[in-house]
């Protein structure tokens, strides 16, 4: 079943064409890496999917819903049921770890008891149950990364979007978090769209890769040796 679909999507920033006629689809539960050099339109693609940008042309689908088309947002970001981990993580600095997760869940009309149970479960999964009352700025880089993942997953989204989330970490921590992410995926089975400029990360996280160059999808599939097959 298709989870995400781009149909001939294009996007300009002023005079610059960032995405041109981009089409692809991602199935439910798939792990897809979006790879490409700086300025190739990876982040723009993710922001179009999240609903932070409006496509100039084409359509964006999530599940069986058309969420954006031809210069219009049809479904607002808060109704797309997506989780996202940003490059700079964007943990709210004025809220504790618990409050960061609770803030997301409060949008879902759950009882306080249910919210607490969900938060405890999410933080246990990322092994941060002892840091509930800590503020994000007091945590290490790796811990912050795990809070961001827990926050993105706590509302049980249909897809998790990740925008170069490991780019600022050292290699050992990257390895550990990649492993952790794959474990979470195996447990929860969410659809994962993982944007990165690193071939290694793309190979490790994605079962498929979309390689963007100059805003066009040029490579569609990638095997475990990292070799691609043009579409």
């Amino acid at each position: 079943m298709t989870a995400i679909q781009f149909r001939n999507v294009s996007k300009h920033y002023r005079d610059k064409l960032v995405l041109s006629d981009l089409s692809f689809q991602i199935e439910h539960g798939e792990r897809v890496s979006v790879q490409g050099p700086s300025g190739s339109g990876k982040t723009t693609m993710l922001r179009l999917l999240a609903g932070f940008l409006v496509p100039d042309g084409g359509e964006v689908w999530i599940g069986d819903k058309k969420v954006a088309a031809e210069g219009k947002i049809l479904v607002a970001p808060e109704h797309r049921k997506l989780g996202m981990v940003f490059q700079d993580l964007s943990l709210w600095p004025h809220l504790t770890v618990y409050q960061n997760l609770d803030f997301v869940l409060k949008a879902q009309s759950l009882s306080a008891k249910d919210r607490r149970a969900r938060i405890e479960e999410a933080l246990e999964r990322v092994r941060l149950e002892d840091f509930m009352s800590a503020y994000p700025t007091r945590l290490s880089g790796g811990q912050q990364q795990r809070v961001a993942i827990a926050r993105a997953l706590v509302a049980r989204p249909v897809a998790l979007l990740m925008d170069e989330p490991l780019s600022n970490l050292d290699d050992d921590l990257k390895d550990e978090l990649c492993e952790h992410l794959l474990n979470l995926h195996a447990q929860l089975g969410f659809t994962l769209v993982y944007v990165t400029h690193s071939k290694d990360e793309a190979r490790r996280i994605g079962t498929r890769a979309i390689l963007l160059r100059d805003g066009k999808e040029v490579l569609y599939e990638m095997d475990h040796e990292g070799k691609g097959k043009s579409r």
Partner: protein, 504 residues
């Protein structure tokens, strides 16, 4: 100053304080000052924050133009707004002439009291709230809001994420407005509202009782310290992640069908807060006879104003640059105290600084500075060095220390590093600091009234002095001269800025 207030007849004595605090009138003054400051802070705060949010976070049109319009009162002393409103609502004002004398009586009563003073001071200090709100909103990392947008609508994100994130800026703005209102002399004096600075000024200038003036000013020092303490407590040690957002990255909240009514409402408010009082001054003071008399009686004072403001702005910017370096690079033990001292002096009423400087320098051995405009420039420096320091420090915080370190590693000496690397990169912040200090010195009332030597007063001091016996036309024309004097350099700086940006 504090020493002389407790040193009576060659010995320690609390007589001045007993006299001042034993007088029930002092508590009336205290209540009046606190009430005025609280009401002004509430009105300017609510209006400024709402306007800042509308301008930066929504798709309301002409936002930049509205921000500029609301900021105009920051360029001249608040008493000009009071004069403008007097020409509209006073007994012989425009409204009274257009309707009848009874309405003039009523509106005059309203103006010469708390409601009038609150409106005048709110429009005068609203730019502080507005500009700080805008600055802090621009500094919020847009992805913090986007992360919340995945769960909530734009207004909920604004309320629950954006506003809490800019709380440090809001607390700073409200504290500044409260303290500046507490210390404001010109507008309350014109509107005959009995508040602390007016009483303190009367003790020193009219009664020449400096010790009593100091004692009368002491509660104000306490309020300033309390205000700064509250600000520091509210901010704590939090370091929120701010960055300058690229415009296309920030999402604007669509106002939908409310877009037109909201912009019309904002324009009406700008008209009320800025347009109406300026129109009042223009109406009364723009006749050829009035302008000619104003130029004749105020031209030399205007020249003094520009000269003193130029000297003070140059010194403040220079000193501020090096203080900013010490604070920003943590190069001095106690840099936090240095920063706090600057802010303390900025928020301290000018009357207190003036009385303090007179107490310190009014001796035969220091007459070489006391009898010259140097003392006034010194007063400006004491009051406004925080502007230079904070503005340059803000620019410096955007520069990576590695820029200087790269030169240091290459063996470049400190002096050349500062003037060869930092100074050119900080030119915009330095120029902005100079212009801001120039304008603040130009609009100052209390310090020139107390410190300018006879015959060498400034335009603001001359206008305030002539208010006692000058014709309304002359006063209004002098106010127009002040407005022109302030708008001139700011307009030139604005045009030069745009030109430089285009060239870049």
């Amino acid at each position: 100053m504090l020493v002389s207030s407790v040193w009576v007849g060659g010995g320690l004595s609390a007589r001045n304080y007993v006299e001042v605090f034993g007088n029930p009138q002092i508590w009336v003054l205290f209540r009046n000052s606190i009430t005025l400051a609280a009401l002004t802070t509430a009105l300017a705060g609510i209006t400024g924050i709402i306007l800042g949010v509308l301008i930066i976070k929504t798709d309301m049109p002409v936002g930049t133009l509205l921000a500029a319009a609301f900021s105009v009162p920051l360029l001249f002393p608040p008493y000009i707004l009071a004069v403008g409103w007097f020409e509209i609502l006073g007994r012989g004002g425009m409204l009274s002439r257009w309707t009848n004398a009874a309405i003039g009586e009523m509106t005059s009563g309203w103006l010469f009291g708390f409601p009038g003073a609150v409106v005048v001071l709110s429009s005068a200090f609203l730019p502080i709230v507005l500009l700080l709100t805008i600055t802090y909103l621009r500094g919020v990392n847009p992805t913090l809001e986007e992360a919340a947008r995945l769960s909530y609508g734009p207004f909920a994100v604004l309320r629950q994420i954006t506003i809490p994130l800019i709380r440090p800026g809001i607390v700073l703005a409200l504290t500044l407005v409260f303290l500046l209102t507490m210390g404001e002399y010109g507008a309350p004096a014109f509107l005959r509202l009995n508040v602390f600075p007016v009483a303190s000024f009367t003790q020193s200038s009219a009664l020449y009782n400096f010790d009593a003036a100091t004692a009368a000013a002491t509660p104000l020092i306490g309020v300033v310290l309390a205000g700064l303490f509250v600000e520091q407590k509210a901010l704590g040690q939090r370091s929120y992640s701010f960055r300058w957002a690229r415009p296309q990255m920030s999402q604007l909240i669509p106002l939908g069908h409310m877009r037109v009514p909201v912009v019309i409402g904002a324009m009406m408010l700008a008209l009320l807060f800025v347009g109406v009082p300026i129109a009042g001054v223009l109406w009364r003071g723009s006749s050829a006879a009035a302008l000619s008399e104003a130029i004749e009686r105020g031209a030399s004072s205007a020249v003094h104003s520009v000269l003193y403001a130029t000297a003070a702005a140059t010194l403040v910017t220079g000193v501020g640059f090096f203080l900013a370096y010490l604070i920003q690079r943590r190069a001095l033990i106690g840099w936090r105290w240095l920063d706090a001292l600057g802010l303390f002096l900025f928020t301290l009423p000018g009357t207190i600084i003036g009385i303090g400087l007179i107490s310190l320098w009014n001796r035969p051995s220091t007459n070489w500075i006391y009898a010259t405009p140097g003392l006034l420039v010194f007063g400006f420096m004491a009051q406004y060095t925080a502007i230079g320091t904070r503005m340059v420090a803000a620019g410096m915080s955007q520069l990576s220390p590695s820029l200087e370190e790269a030169a240091e590693v290459a063996g470049v000496k400190w002096f050349r590093r500062v003037f060869g690397i930092l100074t050119p990169l900080l030119r915009p912040a330095t120029v902005a600091a100079w212009v801001a200090t120039f304008v603040f010195c130009l609009r100052d009332v209390s310090l020139p009234l107390l410190l300018a030597p006879p015959g060498q007063d400034t335009l603001t001091a001359r206008t305030m002095t002539l208010m006692a016996n000058g014709s309304p036309e002359l006063i209004a024309a002098l106010c127009l001269l002040s407005v022109t004097l302030a708008l001139g350099p700011v307009t030139v700086a604005g045009i030069a800025w745009r030109f430089a940006r285009r060239l870049a």
